[in-house]
């Protein structure tokens, strides 16, 4: 249990490590997402989220980042733009702990819901979020900014039949 990553707010010195974590985590998807151009993590954008307190780090025993979650306000909800754990530290509860930190913050900050985009089928995607109380949204009735994000994902190669929006009401 002592090896489980600890969740904390991001600090400026964490930021350079984040794009690499996302790239490594995306690689773990392998052929599941072939043909998808991943959205790059901008360190500048992450710095703004860190300042606003909506960037969380899963840190190892040496306090180095091994995962992160980034959230922004979208359509009046707290939208999880990124949540990734490096492959070597997956399956240790870091993703779930990051997700719970976002949900806890959402409640604390009076956001009405937490939203995200994910894959319907990959076990650590939609089924994982469902296990934390997220429900699938009707793709034809999404609020405008979330609909635009979904369209953007599909334009970058995500399968429209599998990419979906989910929400947890707080």
């Amino acid at each position: 249990m002592s090896d489980a990553p600890r969740i904390r707010q991001a600090r400026p010195h964490d930021l350079p490590a984040l794009p690499g974590i996302k790239t490594a985590a995306a690689r773990a998807f392998g052929d599941l997402r072939s043909g998808v151009t991943p959205r790059r993590v901008s360190v500048e954008a992450m710095a703004i989220l860190a300042e606003e307190g909506t960037l969380w780090i899963a840190a190892d025993a040496e306090d180095a980042p091994v995962g992160f979650a980034a959230a922004t306000m979208l359509d009046g909800t707290l939208f999880i733009a990124d949540i990734h754990v490096s492959p070597a530290h997956q399956r240790q509860g870091a993703g779930r702990a990051l997700l719970r930190a976002v949900v806890d913050y959402g409640r604390w900050a009076f956001h009405p819901a937490v939203t995200l985009l994910t894959d319907r089928l990959v076990p650590w995607n939609a089924p994982f979020y469902a296990s934390e109380g997220f429900v699938m949204l009707d793709g034809a009735r999404l609020p405008p900014d979330l609909a635009a994000k979904l369209a953007g994902d599909i334009a970058r190669g995500h399968d429209p039949a599998r990419r979906c929006a989910m929400a947890k009401r707080l």
Binding site: Q9, R11, A50, E51, E52, G53, T54, M73, W108, A109, F110, H111
Partner: protein, 103 residues
């Protein structure tokens, strides 16, 4: 161990939608002055007296001076402006204690 400084805050939020902008804005000040939440919400009972508010925090700072400087900082004053009219707030900035303790 030198003495820490603390904020003891009791808050009644009257406009949650506006209050969330305050939460986003206070993060910068808290980070700059080394704030740590010792109490953040949490179950409570008003064991004595009255005037309870529903949202209570105890925030630790490295010392009293930084606890005070955080409140006075432009970053936090900016956050206060964001919650104007959105909450009733009692906030005490208070010096810690490092003397003898009950056995």
């Amino acid at each position: 161990m030198s003495k820490k400084g603390y904020w003891i805050g009791r808050v009644e939020v009257t406009n949650p939608d506006a209050y969330k902008n305050y939460v986003a804005k206070n993060a910068a000040a808290f980070s700059k002055y080394g704030a740590r939440f010792l109490v953040r919400g949490g179950e409570f009972e008003m064991a004595e007296g009255g005037g309870a508010k529903s949202r209570n925090v105890v925030i630790e700072f490295p010392d009293y001076a930084s606890a005070m400087a955080c409140w006075k900082s432009p970053e936090y004053q900016d956050a206060i402006a964001a919650r104007k009219g959105a909450a009733l707030v009692d906030l005490m900035v208070i010096d810690g204690y490092d003397g003898p303790q009950p056995a």
